[in-house]
């Protein structure tokens, strides 16, 4: 019996080893299968490579066969292209191929870098037009090729200088301008100036020294503190005035009413000083506009100080009431006028943001070109177009806002009513909100673009300062455009009187 038990136990032990042995065997089998699979894959890859190579050779042969129709000197230029470019060019129809082959070597290289769809579109142009377009850089040709056929024909009919300016525009501006009739397009291009910049700040309307900026910011902080102090005292004086009135204490009522007027004057002056400091530190408010606003603010401060002096000197109830009436009139005007000044500061900030967008779009083109050179293809063209559209929309909105602002600010020196000022401030506020919303959307799109870029090429960097070409509208220094509008408004005003 004991022996039986012992055998059973040994049998159990041996039996328990069996799965382990199988498991080991299994893993060996797995390894063998894995190696076999890898070998099979390797041989497949080799086979595919050989097939691809053979096909490429065959295609090259076909391509070379196709370009045999060309004269020898032309054929040599096409044959010198790398296989990808040769593939694209040689697949064009004979007529188009002939036109391209007649260009110089560098022009052919640039055109051959386009995708087949754009290459075909460009190759359809008449010889002289093709000649002009192909003088542009690869990046510019690429952007121009995105235009539809009719617009491309129209644009390529412009002279070299005009085409060069046109191709510097951002995608959205380029498409918008291409829709204009030829004469209007020429006129708009005439007003454009191509500038080379490294960063958005290079597009600022004026230069402000660091010392001046620091001084303006210091003035703002001081005015802000004093403003808060004045408004706190205002609340306090109003409370005391109520208490004195309830107690029918006339002397105390007069004292607190007077103090309330003095503090109101202080609060208004400090508010104006805050705006003045912000106007002075705004790099996108031109010098002449900054000078006009500053002078207007100073004039308002002088008038408030005069009312403050009256209040200070007041000894009777009537004198205090008279000073209160004057201050109220002043406040009724200032509450809208200061909004206009503040909106001018906001629009300058939005302009700075739009400039950042304009430069970033150009930097994106550079980054994409660099990636292409490295053989990395990143498909973000749709996103960049959307980004460009948003930035162009923001530019359009802030330009409208600035034109409106200047028209009213200049009119104000004449006879703008409080209602006119309020209506203008409301309109400008809406336009600037729309501009900011467009920039916000552009920012969201930009984040997606950068994410995609970095996933494809970890070295992609759109923050690096590189020189880019930007088209600047010399006539649309908005304050200049506003002057025209102002002149018109003044003439109308004069005519109506």
């Amino acid at each position: 019996m004991k022996k039986t038990i012992a055998f059973v136990i040994i049998a159990i032990f041996l039996f328990s080893l069996a799965p382990l042995a199988f498991a080991e065997e299994g893993s060996k089998d797995d390894t063998r299968t894995e190696i076999k699979t890898k070998e099979e894959i390797k041989s497949d890859v080799l086979k595919t490579r050989t097939e691809i190579r053979a096909k490429a050779e065959e295609r090259k042969k076909d391509n070379l066969e196709r370009i045999k129709v060309l004269r020898e000197e032309h054929r040599a230029k096409i044959e010198a292209l790398d296989s990808e470019k040769l593939d694209r060019v040689s697949n064009l129809g004979n007529e188009r191929l002939q036109k391209i082959a007649e260009l110089d070597k560098r022009q052919i290289e640039r055109l051959a870098a386009l995708n087949i769809k754009n290459l075909e579109k460009i190759a359809e142009l008449k010889k002289e037009r093709l000649e002009r377009i192909s003088k542009l850089s690869e990046e510019k040709i690429e952007r121009m090729a995105e235009l539809d056929k009719d617009n491309l024909e129209k644009v390529s009919d412009l002279n070299d200088t005009e085409i060069e300016k046109f191709s510097t525009l951002n995608r959205a501006e380029l498409k918008a301008m291409a829709k204009l009739d030829k004469e209007r397009m020429k006129a708009e291009l005439k007003a454009l100036k191509v500038v080379k910049v490294k960063k958005a700040e290079d597009l600022d309307r004026r230069e402000i020294s660091t010392a001046m900026l620091a001084q303006a910011r210091e003035k703002f902080d001081k005015a802000e503190d004093e403003f808060h102090e004045a408004t706190e005292q205002l609340t306090d004086e109003r409370q005391k005035l109520k208490e004195a009135r309830d107690k029918k204490d006339e002397k105390a009522s007069l004292e607190h009413a007077k103090n309330y007027l003095l503090k109101t004057a202080d609060a208004l002056i400090k508010h104006l000083e805050k705006i003045k400091a912000k106007v002075q530190e705004s790099k996108n408010i031109p010098d002449d506009r900054e000078a006009k606003i500053t002078a207007e603010i100073d004039a308002q401060i002088v008038e408030i100080n005069a009312i403050k002096a009256d209040a200070q000197a007041a000894t009777t109830k009537e004198q205090i009431k008279e000073a209160a009436k004057k201050l109220r009139e002043k406040w009724n005007r200032l509450k809208h006028l200061t909004r206009l000044f503040a909106e001018r500061v906001v629009s300058a900030r939005v302009e700075g943001l739009v400039n950042q967008g304009i430069v970033l779009e150009k930097r994106l083109d550079n980054v994409l070109a660099e990636a292409k050179e490295k053989g990395i293809e990143v498909n973000v063209s749709a996103e960049i177009s959307q980004f460009s559209v948003k930035i162009a929309a923001a530019k359009d909105k802030y330009t409208q806002a600035q034109a409106k602002l200047s028209a009213v600010l200049d009119l104000k020196a004449g006879d703008a009513t409080n209602e006119q000022i309020k209506a203008a401030a409301d309109e400008v506020n809406t336009l600037l909100k729309e501009a900011r919303d467009a920039v916000k959307e552009a920012h969201g799109i930009l984040k997606t673009i950068v994410k995609k870029l970095k996933e494809a090429d970890s070295e992609a960097d759109i923050s690096a300062e590189v020189e880019v070409e930007v088209a600047q509208d010399t006539s649309a220094s908005t304050d200049g455009a506003e002057t025209d509008e102002t002149t018109e408004s003044s003439t109308e005003a004069a005519a109506s009187t």
Partner: protein, 85 residues
């Protein structure tokens, strides 16, 4: 004798169980490898230029707030009180 055999049986069962556990361990160790090889996802751009636009947008909001007349909203009522003295 029976006790010895019984204790041997228990030892065998334990050792078999331990062997099976040991065999499973390398599989457990492989998991972190798989985790390490997973592609890194970019949660934030961390790009100076992109962040500059975001900061610029925030600055516009704060300038608008700084220059608003909200702090003077009680002025009409206050001046009314003064004119009623």
């Amino acid at each position: 004798m029976k006790k010895i055999l019984l204790s041997m049986l228990v030892l065998i069962i334990i050792s078999v169980a331990a062997c099976q556990q040991a065999a499973k361990e390398p599989v457990m160790e492989k998991k972190p490898d798989v985790m390490e090889k997973a592609p890194a996802t970019i949660t934030a751009t961390g790009d100076t230029a992109v962040d500059a636009v975001g900061n610029g947008l925030n600055n516009v909001d704060s300038v608008e707030k700084d220059l608003s007349t909200d702090g003077l909203s009680g002025l009409d009522a206050g001046l009314d009180d003064v004119q009623k003295i």
